[in-house]
């Protein structure tokens, strides 16, 4: 297996390079970067910046999918946390705003985790409930309006920069490092993979699968809440109807592109984030190419299909047979 490890991720990196090259062709200035008012600007930075919400979502989603689950409610959680942040921003301190918004994500994650791990519901169904009801709750918070705010602290979160890097990108990077340190710096990642690989066997081997499942949904909720705050800060307002709409599908797609199987087991945080970047690079490329953005969905559909077919157990079976044949011949 160790010999195979470097090959993991090669396809994703190649795909990203190909898409970047195509982007370079359609827009010659694609790789131009310039420093303005202490912040970097350019298409590449734009890709990173716009890719942040999906990248954050995919960080939580990849853990959930590794336990053989799925979380459809992340878009709705984004709407809830964005609504909370926007309604509190002008009257409360930043700490309160962040605590309330992230706290809401934590509660949502606990709810999902409770349904899946304690009540034993199917993840699709359990998170469908919050997906449907969550947007209603968000609208309840904003009272159906688009809530705007002018709190400079919160605006900085969406539009500021640290050492030239946009704040959202820095946050996403920070979360990637933090999540990576927690799950890969300890046995946690292994236990999560074990839970997804075979929950019953792991349970018998002494893994606290219920706690694992609860924890990943909570983490997914927090990541989604953070993405929601950033999305709200970016547009300086919260739109309960459209914030994070269909982003759960993009996040799942990012995880799948990142090579994590929907059937649970092995996962890779870095590749999931890379998957999010691949999606965003495609989106930006289509925008820059002057094609109508409607092409986005078509291109996405083709990419999903291609990735699926590459990961298909049947096809990899064929590939395995082919390599075995080659080996026996040699």
């Amino acid at each position: 297996m160790t010999a195979l490890l470097p090959r993991r991720g090669l396809a994703q990196i190649l795909a990203l390079i190909v898409i970047l090259a195509v982007d370079r062709v359609v827009s010659p200035q694609f790789f131009d970067l310039r420093l303005q008012d202490g912040r970097l600007f350019g298409s590449l930075i734009d890709v990173l910046n716009r890719g942040t919400p999906v990248a954050l979502l995919s960080l939580g989603m990849v853990l959930v999918i590794a336990t053989r689950g799925i979380d459809l409610s992340v878009g709705a959680i984004m709407a809830i946390s964005g609504a909370i942040a926007a309604s509190l921003a002008d009257s409360h301190s930043m700490a309160v705003v962040l605590a309330a918004a992230l706290g809401a994500g934590l509660v949502c994650g606990l709810w999902n985790g409770f349904l899946v791990s304690v009540l034993g519901m199917q993840p699709i169904v359990a998170t469908l409930i919050l997906m449907v009801a969550g947007r209603g709750i968000a609208q309840l918070i904003t009272e159906g309006r688009i809530v705007t705010f002018s709190s400079p602290d919160l605006v900085w979160l969406g539009n500021g920069s640290i050492l030239g890097v946009p704040v959202p990108v820095a946050i996403a990077l920070g979360m990637l490092v933090l999540t990576g340190a927690v799950v890969r710096g300890s046995a946690l990642g292994l236990l999560i993979e074990a839970t997804g690989g075979n929950a019953r066997a792991s349970e018998l081997a002494g893994v606290g699968t219920r706690a694992m499942i609860l924890a990943v949904y909570v983490w997914c909720g927090i990541c989604a809440a953070l993405a929601g705050v950033i999305a709200a800060a970016d547009i300086m307002g919260a739109d309960a109807n459209n914030a994070g709409l269909w982003l759960e599908l993009d996040a799942i797609l990012a995880v799948v592109i990142g090579g994590t199987s929907l059937f649970g087991g092995r996962f890779s945080l870095v590749l999931a984030v890379l998957g999010a970047l691949i999606i965003q690079t495609m989106n930006t490329g289509i925008l820059l190419s002057g094609y109508p953005p409607e092409f986005n969905l078509l291109v996405k559909a083709v990419v999903v299909l291609a990735v699926l077919l590459l990961q298909s157990p049947k096809l990899s079976g064929v590939a395995n047979v082919a390599t075995r044949l080659r080996r026996t011949k040699a």
Partner: protein
């Protein structure tokens, strides 16, 4: 008979809900409101019937909303811009959507992929294709459309049973018969119970998978035509999120999302419950539309928790018996 108890509960919820609404707003208990309820939810009833088959067989179809959107745009453009006779346009789009569903089913079976992600790709594909056709709303002025909109059976009490409501009722009844009385229906249940066991029993799993998704997409196509009758227009953004509404209707109707159990009639009642919530909110006037979503979510939770309880209850005596034997 095994599908009865959850359906009964759904029916009780519907009747009780309707009674409560009628107590508060006596006008709700009229054939006029009931007729509108059926008309407004006709497309949802049709598409949810197809979804019931998919979910009982253990799958899921996320593409139906997009197929409806594509159908409305295709039909509108075919009739208004390309000068195709409406009937030919209908046949063409139904053939197209059936082929689309068959292709998804084939991909799911041949490559052994999760239906969730395959139909997600289908959802992107159909929605993207409808954007490509046209991004603006195309009004349909063909005489057939005004004829169908005007047609209605008069009900006692001033209600109107419109053509699209009749289409929906026919499809629901046809779906129920197909599921309960034919070999195809029995195979759908078998597939949802266990694919492996169904295969060993001699069910042609591959052919069944293709046919089930074909049926779902075909019904989504019909729902799209009905939707275009309903709005007299084709719009690529129509029916966004209908896949969720129809999954919710199926679950509220007592169908297990794990597959193997459920009924079309339950789904129909689930559609009516969702429509009733909407009607109540319209009558009340002070409640905002987002309460629909919250109420649907609460109902979803209640029904799933109930099912979970029933399943646990059903398993317990079996475990005891097994324990006694060993």
């Amino acid at each position: 008979m095994k599908g009865l108890p959850p359906v009964l509960i759904t029916a009780i919820v519907l009747v009780a809900g309707f009674a409560l609404c009628a107590v508060q707003f006596p006008n709700i208990a009229s054939t006029r409101v009931v007729g509108n309820l059926l008309t407004d939810n006709a497309f949802l009833g049709i598409v949810a019937t197809g979804m019931t088959f998919v979910i009982i067989s253990g799958g899921i179809d996320l593409s139906v909303g997009s197929v409806i959107g594509f159908t409305t745009v295709f039909v509108a453009l075919a009739i208004e811009r390309w000068g195709v006779p409406p009937l030919v346009a209908f046949v063409a789009i139904l053939a197209l959507s059936a082929a689309f569903g068959a292709a998804m089913g084939a991909v799911i079976h041949v490559f052994d992929l999760p239906p969730f992600i395959v139909t997600l790709a289908g959802m992107f594909l159909a929605r993207g294709a409808s954007f490509l056709l046209s991004t603006e709303s195309v009004p349909i002025t063909a005489p057939v459309y005004s004829a169908v909109s005007d047609f209605a059976l008069r009900l006692p009490g001033g209600g109107r049973l419109t053509a699209i409501a009749i289409i929906m009722l026919v499809i629901v009844i046809g779906g129920a018969l197909l599921l309960n009385l034919t070999r195809f229906g029995a195979n759908v249940y078998a597939l949802g119970g266990s694919r492996v066991a169904a295969n060993l029993m001699g069910v042609a799993v591959g052919r069944m998978t293709v046919r089930i998704y074909m049926l779902s997409s075909l019904l989504a196509g019909i729902a799209g035509i009905v939707f275009s009758f309903y709005t007299s227009a084709g719009y690529s953004l129509s029916a966004v999120g209908v896949e969720l509404d129809s999954i919710a209707a199926v679950v509220i109707g007592g169908t297990l999302l794990t597959g193997g159990q459920g009924s079309v009639i339950g789904t129909f009642l689930g559609v009516l419950i969702q429509g009733l919530i909407q009607t109540y909110i319209n009558f009340d006037g002070t409640l905002s539309s987002w309460w629909t979503k919250i109420a649907t979510g609460v109902l979803l939770f209640a029904f799933i928790a109930l099912q979970q309880g029933l399943v646990a209850l059903a398993r317990r005596p079996v475990a005891k018996r097994a324990g006694a034997v060993s």
